[in-house]
Assembly symmetry: C2
Homo-oligomer: 209 residues x 2
DNA sequence: AAAGAAAAGTGCCGAAGGTCATTCCATTCG
DNA sequence: CGAATGGAATGACCTTCGGCACTTTTCTTT
């Protein structure tokens, strides 16, 4: 990367933004080109100041960080966005990632690590806080705590395909009555009331290939 | 991090491993403590050499990178693992992330970026290649390209809850016949054959809260 | 006023789901 | 060795629900 890395800060905490600005500007590779105090302003300033990286708080008035990220990413796809927050709960993390951020770091980060991370982001490498990432992984997997036999898993898959009991029975070399009973068992095991809910359960818990 | 960062290399390409080893050892902060040429050996060497970071190829004989990551992570949770591959297709990326890697980089990376990334990983920050990450995001979202009205989305949610047509009608202030018609419409719109498949469709495409 | 979407009604038949009883099988226990 | 236990597969019965096809009505849009 030739020249300085242009940075836009978007955060509604004045004390933090001034501290962050001063910290960044003590390093020659960074140039803070603007400071926004809410999401809407962040989108506007992004158009004007053409930053390489936006450091974006997730909890902001007027427009949430998530919406702001989506706006900016669709307006100017090349901009890199670092979600920079106080909290690392699964919702915040997955929201930021789904919105399209290129990094997720907590505000408690040591300055030198922030510096390295910003350089990585500018260089095309996404950086994420370790705990936040593991929390995201957990929420992605959301594995069921119920054990299913191989046959039960097969039935679940076929149910998700929308097959009838007779079709499932045919596929598995069973009688439709047997499949019916197996599904009754699955319904009570999973606390579901119908095969539709069962299909959702199986899908949500990644029980299907 | 005090002292050197201990690194274990796991890759079945001898030319790459020697090049990687020599590259890393020209920097004082790294110490290559072992080189494994397949997944099984990686797991074993990890027990013996107690590395801080494992640089792991995903395509390896004996045991895939994915299995090796899972093994190592469950044996020694503290070890940080960088998935280091030639390909960035969605399957490889999501496989590595689901297995629990702490970084995902392509082998074409510039040496200096690899150095910075390894330092980030050692410092508790996960690093991922930008393209790989965006590909993962795409596959995560798998957004439906069909437009649904507010009412249709409501019906979809209720179907996923396992509610009957009568119950849905009651909740929405409609008649069950109307709900039937709406669901028939939804089935044909989504190319589904039954409400079970519809429930899976809605769940898979994140159409429910 | 015409067109079109959303809502509602009707009838039909097969599928779904609950319950109970039975058979076949393997394992285990006395 | 025979008996007992328990899981898996099966069958039958019955009520409700699901999904289709068609028509009708109401409301909005233009």
């Amino acid at each position: 990367m030739n020249g300085q890395i242009r940075i836009l800060i978007a955060d509604d905490h004045p004390l933090l933004t001034t501290g962050l600005k001063m910290t960044l500007e003590q390093w020659d590779e960074f140039l803070v080109v603007g400071v926004a105090s809410n999401g809407l302003q962040a989108v506007e300033l992004c158009e004007k100041t053409k930053p390489h990286i936006v450091i974006m708080d997730m909890q902001m008035p007027r427009m949430s960080g998530r919406e702001a990220i989506e706006q900016i990413k669709s307006n100017i796809p090349g901009v890199r966005i670092l979600a920079f927050t106080t909290f690392d709960d699964a919702d915040t993390v997955s929201g930021a990632i789904a919105a399209g951020c290129d990094g997720f770091l907590l505000k408690v980060i040591a300055p030198e690590k922030l510096r390295a991370s910003l350089n990585s982001i500018a260089g095309g490498i996404n950086v994420y806080d370790e705990d936040a990432m593991s929390r995201l992984r957990q929420s992605m997997r959301k594995k069921s705590d119920i054990d299913f036999s191989g046959r039960e898993l097969t039935v679940l898959r076929y149910v998700c395909e929308g097959m009838t009991n007779a079709e499932i029975a045919d596929k598995m070399g069973l009688r439709s009555g047997t499949v019916k009973n197996m599904i009754s068992l699955l319904l009570s095991k999973t606390n579901c009331v119908s095969r539709s809910q069962l299909a959702r359960y199986a899908t949500e818990n990644h029980l299907i290939s």
